[in-house]
Amino acid sequence: MKVGVVTFPGSLDDRDAARAVRAAGAEAVSLWHADADLKKVDAVILPGGFSYGDYLRCGAISRFAPVMTSIIERANVGMPVLGICNGFQILCESHLLPGALTRNVGLHFLCTPQPIRIENISTPWTNNFQQGAEIVIPLKNGEGSFQCDDKTLDQLESEGRVIARYVGENPNGSRNLIAGISNARGNVVGLMPHPEHAIDSLTGPTADGLAFFTSVLTAMVGK
């Protein structure tokens, strides 16, 4: 099975995401922002980084890349899409996910091993976790504070679309400690912390992140 990893100008974690895909046993296919062709992939990852420098607003410019038009189309008919960090920001800017990611309350870039709890294991990106599992993966961003209006928040909570929550002190001011959410259908997931940097405890704080990538394999094979 093939998982596409998009490279935008300024993407940084594309190679790490591809490595994680391979570690999970799938084929990683590199997708280029300016190319609308999705090369027959079964799922797509939008990796972390500072696409276009994130100078205007994180993800604001990448959202208009040709590859996004194709991804939005396929996402709307159920293709699994995972946006990590900058990828999450792009998904929000694209309106595939609600809300927005804003400046951390501490006003600093923050890089730290972050405990999170998996709150929904029915998505294609989380099905290999135990419900309520507490894991530690890196969090690293300057604009990771999830914000939305009350109505959206209620909806996310009542529909079980908060897929991961920070454990312990709120690292960035996110509403309801939200670390990740999904769309209504569950196939599109945005996650602020970085599972691709936690696939091996040699280079990451843990290997807890790998299950996000094996999950999508399980989801596709099960189909």
Binding site: P9, G10, L12, D13, R15, D16, R19, G49, F50, Y52, G53, D54, Y55, G106, L107, H108, F109, L110, C111, T112, P138, K140, G142, H194, E196, H197, L202, T203, G204
Partner: protein
């Protein structure tokens, strides 16, 4: 403004030129006239003045730095030595590694964020220029007193700048230093190290050979950055209506640099360049003259083709501009189409600005008129060389005689002494800083802060990796710059070896006061002599470095601060030795002997005692210790170097890392055992079954060995005194948030 051409210069010999305002001495100006056989055109004057500046020509340091070549040890590992943008070292398996430190001190005082950010950008381009993919950065920093109001302006800005630029490039920050001393108030030091990796056959050099080959400028457009001096020239000489506003501060654009890196690496991978040079200090003046003099010698450049951010720039200003994020490549004509295509893919501005010629002149034109016609070597390499006066400074005898009072420690005050030590700004937890740096990106970081050295994997299959440490102890250098340099070298090498990596090569950044002060010049000369002698003795080549002079306020120079970086190689990163134990019941052994070495120590600093005699380093013993550490690596569960703060700091850091306590049994004088900073010591943790092995290793390498305790429990206990881990943690972690926690705006 009238254009001053070479033709005009030839016919107006008496035209007065503002060479002094551009920093040239009158004999230097005379030499330029002799070289050219006429007065220089204003563009030529601009080029010579900036290339013959201290920063670009190393005119005060050259006579000393040549020792690094003269005393260079033989090294099979050295692929490219001093002189290129960065040295290159063979680390085996076909990999070559390049690394270098550079300073960006003064700009970081003026505008901390942008100064530090562009400092990172500059060193990364140096590494990229060698053909390497940059893989990590480090940032040794120095600040004035932690409590000083200006430090609260400077430190958060510099840290945010290092992070802002490095994070955006996707380079893990794997280490650095943060040291406070009042002499750095007004003169903060921002040194930045970058390391990059490539295959042997990908090494690129700065040379423009092959007549007919094209000179290609790519990256950011050229603006009026860093050309204050040249504005003087433009307005004074040619009576324009006054200099246009030129930026006093350069703003970095890390996104442009990130794209430039990817674009360049793709260009390198397809072997599309003959030579390449980044644009840093002295901008195009430097790039064109160095490329030309590194190659066959001839080059012709049409300066009016350079893409500009500010259309009003004069040719002199374009030549001098230090705008960031630019590169200059030499490309064969049949490869240019592909080169342009790759730039287009990455949306990188690219322009062919000239070609390599078969002459031996660098000729630059402006709308068809020749404005520069010089032998490039005379600009790039034949700058002035000074043998500046050197005199042992007067402060030394008094300072050396001022032996620090020995502290008295007993069961009643030992706990407080340790808490005071680890909560002092120089020793306290630096997480407030390092958590602003991405250390995970690229997925190859094996060790980063707070380990003794940074370590990155360079091959995922073979597990080959490199480790780097930077060290300087300016308090030692102040009292004895010769020994200070050797001690810093030894410490950096030891920090590599504690992790299990074998030291291979050295880089350095020498931060000093004014070279016009004979006392400072003496400190500098002694430092270089010490480092060169040390490197020779240890068999480690110096591969490059940087000199930063004029770090002083009025008459008061900073402490002499030679930051030494050592690179080492480790065959299997999975086997590295971490700094801290993660289980109970391990035996703790101290390798190396402890004397009462308090001169230049943290304890002395905290008690405002700056004098005494610094320890003399025994490099033979250091090398035996390194060999012991490498051979013993399989049995070490943890190994941590003893340096600033002595054993007290080392054991506290080990205990706090995983929250596992330790019990030490210390006979004899407690103060010496805990606070002395005798070099050449490492604390190791091993399982009891390996005691035999460590004893025989110690005997084999004749390194004193003392069993001092055991890991375990929830306290740090020393003889009868216990400090809870929570108390220790509180002391260690609160300092930085308290000092700098107030948020910066922006």
């Amino acid at each position: 403004m009238a254009l001053d051409t070479v033709a005009i210069a030839a016919t107006t010999p008496d035209q007065e030129q503002p060479f002094a305002a551009l920093g040239l001495k009158s004999d230097e100006y005379q030499r330029i006239c002799e070289i050219l056989g006429r007065r220089p055109s204003s563009s030529e004057l601009a080029m010579y003045s900036v290339m013959w500046s201290e920063h670009c020509s190393y005119k005060s340091s050259k006579v000393h730095l040549k020792q690094f070549g003269e005393k260079a040890p033989h090294s099979d590992a050295l692929l490219v030595g001093i002189g290129e943008n960065a040295g290159v070292v063979d680390v085996g398996q076909g990999y070559a590694v390049t690394f270098k430190i550079e300073s960006h001190n003064h700009p970081s005082f003026v505008e901390p964020y942008q100064g530090a950010a562009t400092g990172v950008g500059g060193i990364v381009r140096d590494i990229l220029t060698m053909g390497a993919r940059p893989i990590a950065i480090m940032d040794p920093l120095r600040f004035g007193e932690a409590h000083a109001p200006d430090t609260r302006r400077v430190l958060p800005g510099i840290v945010a700048g290092v992070g802002g630029y490095g994070n955006c490039l996707g380079l893990p920050n794997i280490g650095g230093e943060i040291v406070f001393d009042k002499t750095y108030a007004g003169n903060p030091l921002v040194n930045a190290l970058c390391v990059g990796v490539m295959r042997h056959d990908q090494i690129k050099l700065a040379k423009a050979s092959g007549p007919g080959n094209l000179v290609v400028l790519f990256g950011a457009k050229t603006g009026g950055d860093g050309i204050g001096g040249v504005s003087v020239l433009a307005s004074e000489t040619f009576g324009s209506t006054g200099p246009a506003k030129r930026p006093s501060v350069q703003v970095g654009d890390p996104f442009t640099e990130k794209v430039l890196i990817e674009c360049s690496l793709e260009i390198f991978a397809e072997d599309l360049v003959v030579g390449i040079q980044d644009l840093g200090g002295a901008g195009l003046s430097c790039a064109t003259s160095e490329l030309a003099s590194g190659g066959s010698g001839g080059m012709r450049v049409e300066l009016d083709t350079v893409p500009l951010r500010d259309p009003n720039l004069s040719p002199e200003e374009i030549l001098m501009s230090e705008s960031q994020e630019r590169m200059c490549a030499i490309v064969e004509p049949h490869k240019i189409a592909r080169f342009l295509e790759i730039c287009k893919k990455w949306d990188v501005t690219v322009t062919v600005i000239g070609e390599v010629t078969d002459g031996d002149r660098l000729i630059i034109t402006w709308h068809g008129e020749v404005i520069v016609d010089v032998p490039p070597r005379t600009v790039a390499h034949d700058g002035p060389v000074y043998n500046r006066p050197v005199a042992r400074p007067n402060y030394l005898d008094g300072a050396i005689a001022d032996t620090p009072q020995l502290p008295k420690l007993d069961a009643t005050n030992i706990a407080q002494a340790i808490l005071d030590l680890i909560s002092s700004p120089n020793m306290a937890d630096k997480t407030w800083v390092t958590s602003q740096y991405d250390k995970y990106v690229q997925g190859n970081t094996i060790q980063s802060q707070p380990e003794d050295s940074g370590m990155v994997r360079i091959d995922e299959r073979s597990h080959l990796g490199v480790a780097i440490s930077t060290d300087a102890n300016a308090s030692w250098s102040y009292l004895n710059p010769y020994e200070g340099a050797k001690l810093a070298l030894a410490e950096a090498a030891r920090n590599i070896a504690t992790a299990g990596a074998k030291p291979l090569a050295v880089t350095n950044c020498l931060n000093f006061g004014s070279p016009e002060d004979p006392g400072v010049m003496w400190q500098f000369a002694e430092t270089v002599r010490g480092l060169a002698d040390g490197c020779l003795e240890m068999g480690l080549p110096v591969t490059g470095g940087n000199v930063s002079f004029y770090n002083q306020t009025g008459d008061v120079a900073i402490l002499p601060t030679p930051v030494i970086g050592v690179l080492g190689v480790i065959q299997d990163v999975r086997l590295r030795t971490p700094m801290a134990f993660n289980c109970e019941g391990l035996d703790l052994f101290l390798l190396g002997a402890t004397n009462a070495d308090f001169a230049g120590s943290q304890w002395a600093y905290m008690h405002d005692q700056r004098g005494g005699t610094v320890p003399v380093t025994d490099l033979q013993r250091e090398m035996r210790l390194i060999d012991l550490l490498l051979e013993g690596q399989p049995i070490f569960a943890a190994a941590h170097d003893l340096s600033q703060g002595g054993l007290a700091a080392t054991i506290s850091e080990m205990v706090l890392h995983h929250g596992i306590g330790a019990g030490l049994d210390i006979p004899g004088d407690l103060a010496t055992a805990l606070l002395s900073e005798t070099p050449g010591r490492v604390l190791v943790a091993i399982t009891q079954s390996d005691s035999q092995k460590i004893e025989s290793l110690a005997t084999k390498y004749s390194i004193p060995l003392t069993r001092i305790g055991k890991s375990g429990g929830s306290t740090l206990s020393i003889n009868s005194v216990s400090i809870s881990i929570e108390t220790l943690r509180e002391a260690y972690t609160q300092t930085f948030p308290k000092l700098f926690g107030t948020e910066k705006l922006g």
